[in-house]
C-alpha cells in the first residue's frame, strides 16, 4: 500500500515537472559595453540627453551622466548625437507562421477548420528559417509575439520569441513567458464559417460561440478542481478527468496563466467582449487592430486593457472604415494618461519600422491637440508591449537589472532617416550595421548566387 502511494506521488511529480516545448534559449556571449553621451529614451517616459549607459552580464547595470569604469574589458561606444532606446517589441507578428516566401505550403497561421481551435499552438507552425526575422532585427526588434491568425473565434496559443534565429523554436522562445490566447471578433470568423454554411455566420453567432466555449472551459476546470480536492485514497480509485487539449488552454486562461489578446475592430464589439470576460471571470490583456478603440478609450483604460493598434491602416474592411490617425494617442491619453497604447505591426514590412509608425501616431495625436513627448511615445513600442506580453519585469525599458535589450540609433528614432546601427539582445551584439555583423537564415544561403548569401537588407 505504501509503495503504491509513492508510485502515484512520483507520477504526479513527473507530470508537473515536464512542461511541454519549454524554452531552451541561451543568449549569445554578452559583452560589457559603456555607451557614452547618448540621447536616451528609456521606455519609461524619460528622455535623458547626453547620458551614459552601462551594460554587462546580459543586464543593464547603470544609466547616468559621466559613468566611469576602470575595466579594460569594457567596450566603449561613442553615442554622441546618437539615440539609445530599449529593444523594440512587436506584440502582433506572424513571422514564422506566415513566412516569406508566402507559399501555400508554409502558410500555417490559421487552423481554419473549426471556429474554436484553442488546442493549437502558433509555435508548432513556426518556420525558424524565415528570412524575415533578420529584417525585423535591422529595425531594432529584439522580441516579438507570434499569434495565430484571426479566422477563428478562438484561434489558439501565441508565443513570445527572442529575435535570435536558431534551428529550433524552443531555442528562440522567450523563457518563462506566458502564452497568449488569440481570439477574434467581427468579420473574419463570420465570413470564414458563414461562407461554409456553418456557425458563426453573424456577429451574434460569434458571441454565442465564445460563450459556449467558456461554459465548457468552466465545466472542465470545475471537474479538474473537484478531482484535485479529493483525498489521496479517493484519487487512487478514481481516475482523473480525461485531458482535453482545447480545454487545457481555455482553463489556463480562467486560471490567469494565459494572456488574452483579441483581434477586434469595432467599439461595440470590444465593449461586449469585455462583458464576456466579466461573465467568465478572465482578464483581457489587449485588443488588437482596434480601429475604433478611440471611441471607447475610457472604457479600455478603466478595465486596464491595452490597445495594440496601427498608426493609420484602414479601409480594407467595413469594420476598419472609421480610422482616425489620433487613435493611438487618444487611447494613450484616456483617463489623464492612464491608457495603455501599443503600436503593433501585423505586417512583415511594418515590423521593420515600428519607430516610424510611432512617430506618425504621435504627430497625429499632437495635431489633435495632445502634448505627447517622444519619451512617452517610445513606451508604445517598448514597455507597453512588454507588459502585454507579460515580460515587462525583464525587458521593455532601460532600467538597471533588466535584460540588456538595447538599440543604438543613428539619430532621432522618430525620424524616417534614422536607422538602427547596433542591436543588443541580452547584452550580446546581435546586429551591427557598420560591420555587417548579423544573422543569415539558411533560406538566404546561396539561393540567388550559389557563391553568396542573399542580401537580406
Amino acid at each position: 500500500m505504501k509503495k503504491l502511494f509513492l508510485l502515484v506521488f512520483s507520477l504526479t511529480i513527473a507530470v508537473d515537472s515536464f512542461s511541454a516545448f519549454e524554452s531552451t534559449y541561451k543568449p549569445l556571449k554578452s559583452e560589457k559595453v559603456l555607451f557614452i553621451n547618448g540621447n536616451i529614451l528609456d521606455g519609461e517616459g524619460n528622455e535623458l540627453l547626453d547620458t551614459d549607459l552601462l551594460i554587462g552580464n546580459g543586464k543593464i547595470i547603470a544609466l547616468g551622466k559621466g559613468i566611469s569604469i576602470d575595466d579594460k574589458d569594457v567596450k566603449i561606444i561613442d553615442a554622441k548625437n546618437k539615440w539609445i532606446t530599449p529593444g523594440i517589441i512587436d506584440i502582433h507578428s506572424h513571422m514564422g507562421v506566415y513566412p516569406a516566401p508566402s507559399v501555400r505550403t508554409s502558410s500555417d497561421g490559421n487552423e481554419a477548420t473549426s471556429p474554436v481551435t484553442a488546442e493549437v499552438w502558433a509555435e508548432h507552425s513556426i518556420w525558424v528559417q524565415d528570412p524575415q526575422y533578420a529584417l525585423a532585427l535591422k529595425g531594432g526588434i529584439t522580441t516579438f509575439h507570434v499569434l495565430p491568425g484571426s479566422a477563428n473565434l478562438i484561434g489558439g496559443r501565441g508565443v513570445t520569441v527572442k529575435n535570435l534565429q536558431r534551428n529550433t523554436i524552443q531555442s528562440m522562445k522567450y523563457p518563462d513567458a506566458k502564452h497568449s490566447l488569440k481570439m477574434a471578433c467581427g468579420e473574419n470568423p463570420k465570413r470564414v464559417y458563414g461562407n461554409r454554411g456553418q456557425a458563426p455566420s453573424t456577429r451574434m453567432g460569434n458571441f454565442a460561440g465564445y460563450r459556449k466555449a467558456w461554459i465548457e472551459a468552466e465545466n472542465y476546470l470545475n471537474k479538474l478542481e473537484a478531482y484535485d480536492s479529493k483525498s489521496d485514497e479517493e484519487k487512487m480509485v478514481e481516475s482523473p478527468p480525461k485531458r482535453d487539449l482545447q480545454l487545457d488552454t481555455l482553463s489556463d486562461v480562467l486560471k490567469d496563466e494565459i494572456l488574452v489578446h483579441i483581434h477586434c475592430y469595432r467599439a461595440e464589439e470590444m465593449a461586449l467582449m469585455i462583458d464576456v470576460a466579466k461573465e467568465f471571470n478572465y482578464k483581457i490583456t489587449a485588443f488588437h487592430h482596434g480601429v475604433e478603440a478611440y471611441k471607447i478609450a475610457d472604457l479600455l483604460a478603466d478595465n486596464g486593457i491595452c490597445g495594440a493598434l496601427w498608426a493609420d491602416w484602414w479601409g480594407f474592411k467595413h469594420e476598419a472604415y472609421d480610422m482616425v490617425q489620433a487613435n493611438i494617442a487618444i487611447v494613450d491619453q484616456a483617463r489623464d494618461g492612464k491608457g495603455c497604447a501599443i503600436v503593433h505591426s501585423d505586417d512583415e514590412r511594418g515590423i521593420q519600422r515600428l519607430n516610424q509608425e510611432a512617430a506618425k501616431a504621435r504627430a497625429a495625436g499632437n495635431k489633435a491637440g495632445y502634448d505627447i513627448s517622444k519619451a512617452r511615445a517610445m513606451s508604445w513600442i517598448t514597455s507597453n508591449p512588454a507588459k502585454a506580453a507579460g515580460i515587462y519585469h525583464e525587458t521593455g525599458s532601460l532600467v538597471a537589472g533588466k535584460n540588456a535589450d538595447v538599440v543604438l540609433w543613428s539619430g532621432d528614432p522618430f525620424s524616417v532617416y534614422s536607422l538602427a546601427e547596433q542591436v543588443f539582445i541580452d547584452g550580446a551584439l546581435a546586429f551591427n550595421r557598420n560591420t555587417g555583423f548579423g544573422p543569415v537564415s539558411d533560406f538566404d544561403v546561396g539561393i540567388v548566387d550559389p557563391r553568396e548569401d542573399r542580401v537580406n537588407d
Binding site: A100, P101, K317, R349, A368
Partner: protein
C-alpha cells in the same frame, strides 16, 4: 443711378475674381526638376503658375510660406483611388471586367466622392493614376489619370496607359504568358489604319487571327493594342524576376514599346539594361521581403540602386487607401541611399513624364498650379501639409477622419451622436 453702381460693382468683382493673382512667398521650393531647392516666390493666376523666382514677386493675395517647404503636388502612379472604397466589399470595387481585357477603361467608374480622395489629398497627393485589377493574362485594362479635386465631373485623362503582368502563376507557365504577349503584339503590328476604320473591320481582323479569336478579343481591346504600337501608349508591366525583366526588355525593343516596369523587385540585378533602354520603374521602397520565388533579390536599397544606374524611379504603396505613404516610402529610400531631390522627382515629375501627363509635376512657368506647402520635411511621415493647391485652388483639407477626430477629442458631456 443706383442700378448702374450695382452693375459696376458686380463687374468689378467678377473681373477681379478672374484676374486675381496669388503669390506664395518665401518658401523653400523643390521644383520637381533635378536641381537644388531654393528660397523663392511662386506667382499663380487662375490655374496656372505665372512665375517661380528667387526674386520677390507681387500678387493680389499673399500666402506666407517662410520656413516651409513647397513641392509639386504628389502624383500617385499605381492606385485604385476612385474605383475602390472598401476592400472586402466587392460592390464598392470597380476594377474588373469579365468581357473586356485590354480595352477595359476604369475612367467611367471613378467616384469623385470617395473618402480616399480627400484623405490622400489632405496628405499631399494632388493627382493619381488609377489602375484596373490585374485579372487577365498577360494584359489587363487601361489606367486613367484623375485630379484629386473631388469635382463631380472628373477632371483627368482616361486611358493613359495599358496594364499587364508577367511572372509566377499558380497554374500554367510564364513562358506561355510571354508568347501570348508577343502573339498579341504580332497581331497588332499587322493592323493598319484601314483595319481600324470601324468595329466591323476590327472584328474581321480578329476572326482572321487565331489567337485573337481564341482570346475572345473585342474591338476595343484591339484598339488598345493598336495604340501601344502606334500611339506610344505606355505599357505598365508588373513583374519581378530579373530574367522576366530581360525578356520584357527584348519585347520592348522588338516592338518599340513604351514600357514602364512596376514592382520590379529584382531590377537591381539588371539595372544597367533597364537604364540603357530608358525604362521608368515604379518600385515600392518599403518592400524588401522575398515574398515569392520571383523576388529573392528584393532589398531596401532598390530605389537608390536604380537611381544610381540612371533610371527614372517612381514610388508605389501596397495599400491604396493610404497611398500618400509613398512619402514615407520616399523618406526610407533616402535613408537607404537615394538622393533627396531624386526622391521628390520620383513623387512628382517622373510620374507626369512617364505617363505623358502635360503641365503637371513641376513648379515652373506655364505649369498647372498643383502644389503643397508643407509644415516641415515632406519625406518625414510625421509632417502634414499646411496647404494643398490643385489647379490653383486652395483645397479644403477636411477628411472623414479629421471630422471623427474632432468628435472624439471633444470632451463635452454629450453622446458623440450629438456633437
Amino acid at each position: 443711378m443706383i442700378k448702374i453702381i450695382y452693375c459696376l460693382a458686380l463687374s468689378f468683382i467678377s473681373i477681379s475674381a478672374f484676374s486675381q493673382t496669388l503669390v506664395i512667398k518665401g518658401g523653400e521650393i523643390y521644383t520637381g526638376l533635378n536641381q537644388e531647392s531654393f528660397i523663392g516666390d511662386i506667382l499663380i493666376e487662375g490655374d496656372t503658375i505665372l512665375e517661380v523666382s528667387t526674386k520677390p514677386l507681387k500678387g493680389d493675395v499673399v500666402v506666407d510660406a517662410s520656413n516651409k517647404i513647397i513641392t509639386p503636388g504628389v502624383i500617385a502612379p499605381d492606385t485604385q483611388i476612385g474605383i475602390l472604397e472598401i476592400g472586402a466589399i466587392s460592390e464598392t470595387r470597380d476594377g474588373d471586367s469579365d468581357i473586356y481585357s485590354m480595352g477595359f477603361s476604369v475612367f467611367d467608374a471613378i467616384n469623385p466622392n470617395s473618402t480616399l480622395i480627400p484623405w490622400n489629398r489632405s496628405n499631399g497627393v494632388t493627382s493619381a493614376i488609377t489602375l484596373p485589377d490585374f485579372n487577365w493574362d498577360p494584359l489587363s485594362g487601361m489606367a486613367s489619370f484623375l485630379l484629386l479635386d473631388g469635382s463631380l465631373r472628373v477632371n483627368g485623362m482616361p486611358d493613359v496607359a495599358l496594364t499587364g503582368e508577367i511572372g509566377a502563376l499558380s497554374s500554367g507557365s510564364r513562358a506561355e504568358s510571354l508568347i501570348l504577349l508577343r502573339d498579341l503584339l504580332d497581331f497588332a503590328s499587322i493592323l493598319d489604319e484601314k483595319d481600324m476604320a470601324s468595329s466591323k473591320k476590327i472584328s474581321e481582323a480578329i476572326e482572321d487571327f487565331e489567337i485573337a479569336e481564341l482570346m475572345d478579343l473585342q474591338p476595343r481591346d484591339v484598339i488598345a493594342l493598336y495604340n501601344l504600337l502606334n500611339n506610344n501608349l505606355p505599357l505598365i508591366i508588373k513583374t519581378n524576376r530579373a530574367s522576366d525583366i530581360l525578356k520584357l526588355i527584348d519585347i520592348k525593343k522588338l516592338y518599340g514599346l513604351n514600357l514602364v516596369l512596376m514592382s520590379a523587385q529584382e531590377a537591381t540585378l539588371v539595372a544597367d539594361e533597364i537604364a540603357v533602354n530608358n525604362i521608368p520603374v515604379i518600385v515600392n521602397p518599403f518592400d524588401n521581403i522575398p515574398d515569392s520565388f520571383d523576388e529573392l533579390a528584393s532589398n531596401i536599397r532598390i530605389a537608390a540602386s536604380l537611381e544610381k544606374a540612371g533610371i527614372k524611379v517612381m514610388f508605389s504603396e501596397s495599400r491604396t487607401h493610404n497611398y500618400h505613404l509613398i512619402r514615407q516610402g520616399a523618406g526610407n529610400a533616402v535613408a537607404n541611399g537615394m538622393s533627396y531631390t531624386g526622391a521628390i522627382m520620383a513623387l512628382t515629375s517622373n510620374v507626369a513624364e512617364s505617363f505623358n501627363i502635360p503641365e503637371r509635376g513641376r513648379l515652373q512657368q506655364g505649369m498647372k498650379a498643383d502644389l503643397v506647402i508643407w509644415e516641415g520635411d515632406p519625406l518625414e511621415p510625421s509632417t502634414f501639409p499646411s496647404k494643398v493647391y490643385i489647379n490653383g485652388n486652395d483645397m479644403d483639407l477636411s477628411t472623414r477622419s479629421s471630422r471623427l477626430t474632432e468628435r472624439y477629442v471633444d470632451k463635452r458631456d454629450l453622446p458623440n451622436t450629438y456633437k
